[in-house]
Symmetry: C2
Subunit: 244 residues, 2 copies
């Protein structure tokens, strides 16, 4: 980023750059996984390379040296223990492309945990829910890429889809955003928000709204005339959360 004298008519910029790498620890020795080595080669990195690294939830600064055809880790400096922080999000099942996009964006905007759920007004039928659950592992790759892209050293945790009510007991006082929420969202709600339950495309059912009221969840709706899709509302809230 920020290099000069670039010719407009040629592609000289690498679309991707490496912001940190992940290390493995074997018998007190730090090793670069094969996948990361290949990535360094693809990006044509120059060695010795000083770079940030993450291993066992610790941020490190390391130097990577080339030794023959191999890459080895030198000068490991521990920077700090990493704590996962950020918003907890309860994410309804929506159209799979929109779900993936929304997921990528909120991860770039810093999220701690994401729980997928389906509820009374869910567009997925049983078969589709099963398919989503079976393919869940593929989302993890997307998460890892988005995490690396954004330079976040901690990886958000992802939880496979369950019925909404199964999550009630472990929910940490969520701000619930639905079409029939009570008042309009305010800045103070966002400042206090630690977890967010976003409504599905068909909104929550009356039964679900009753459950939320019983449990004293904070029920809000978005302001204004314009109606946001589920994933847009999610990115919108993640943006506000990041800023406040």
């Amino acid at each position: 980023m920020g290099k000069e004298h670039c010719n407009r008519s040629s592609r000289v910029y690498k679309r991707e750059s490496l912001r940190f790498i992940k290390l493995e620890k074997k018998f007190d020795k730090y090793e670069i996984p094969v996948k990361e080595k290949n990535h360094l080669r693809v990006l044509r990195c120059k060695f010795p390379l000083t770079i940030k690294a993450v291993c066992e939830q610790t941020e490190l600064e390391i130097v990577i040296e080339q030794l023959g055809n191999d890459l080895i880790v030198k000068n490991v400096k521990k920077i700090k223990k990493l704590e996962v922080s950020g918003l907890i999000v309860y994410f309804p099942l929506i159209d799979s492309k929109r779900l993936e996009w929304g997921l990528e964006k909120i991860i770039e905007l810093s999220i701690q945990k994401i729980y997928f759920y389906y509820s009374d007004h869910c567009f997925y039928n049983k078969k589709q829910i099963k398919k989503f659950q079976d393919r869940f592992d593929k989302l993890q790759n997307l998460v890892e890429e988005a995490q690396k892209q954004s330079g976040n050293l901690t990886k958000p945790l992802l939880f496979n889809a369950v019925p909404l009510e199964k999550l009630y007991n472990e929910m940490q006082k969520p701000l619930v955003l639905g079409v029939h929420g009570q008042d309009v969202l305010e800045a103070s709600d966002i400042k206090e928000m630690s977890s967010l339950l976003i409504g599905p495309e068909g909104d929550f059912s009356k039964r679900e709204y009753d459950d939320f009221s019983k449990r004293n969840f904070t029920l809000k709706k978005l302001e204004g005339e314009s109606i946001l899709r589920t994933e847009t509302a999610l990115i919108y809230m993640a943006s506000l959360n990041k800023f406040f």
Copy 2:
């Protein structure tokens, strides 16, 4: 939205609902365009239908009645003259999928005008720029869909890609967001922002930064360690602009 007694295992919810329709005026008579009539049929609307409409930048409330096989407009009430408001955005050319997604999202988040540009550190070569310009009309469809989806009655204006410096003279005091911007973005910047020039993936060049300083544009960078992709930064800013 908000209907109850929905069976989780079946798809009873329509993904799309009609929030308003566009009318044509012919010799002082309001007519429903064929495309809108087909849309009403696809959505299996029931008639008479009271619905919002837009015609010649005016918001209307109308009743649509079925007359044999045709649909006609009755009881036209003028609500108000529509004024296009919202953020003006200068949008760099990025990967086409990301561009389309970003575009859709910022339109849902209310935008007035979008100018596409290419600059010193643009990933597109001449051929790709030409291709983008030739295909530009296709983006208009996407804009219309996103506008309808969000229920915004006014359609944002889109301008085809030109070199950045060609826009300088008509730029309305933009907030410039680049990696090498001077200070970190603050709430007051967002409150004052009426137009936004977002940096390309390779950031602005030194020459461009000098141009901005000469013209007294407000130069800022995003806070924090995490790095946002161009389209994420754009959605992030549109979210903040919508909220403030």
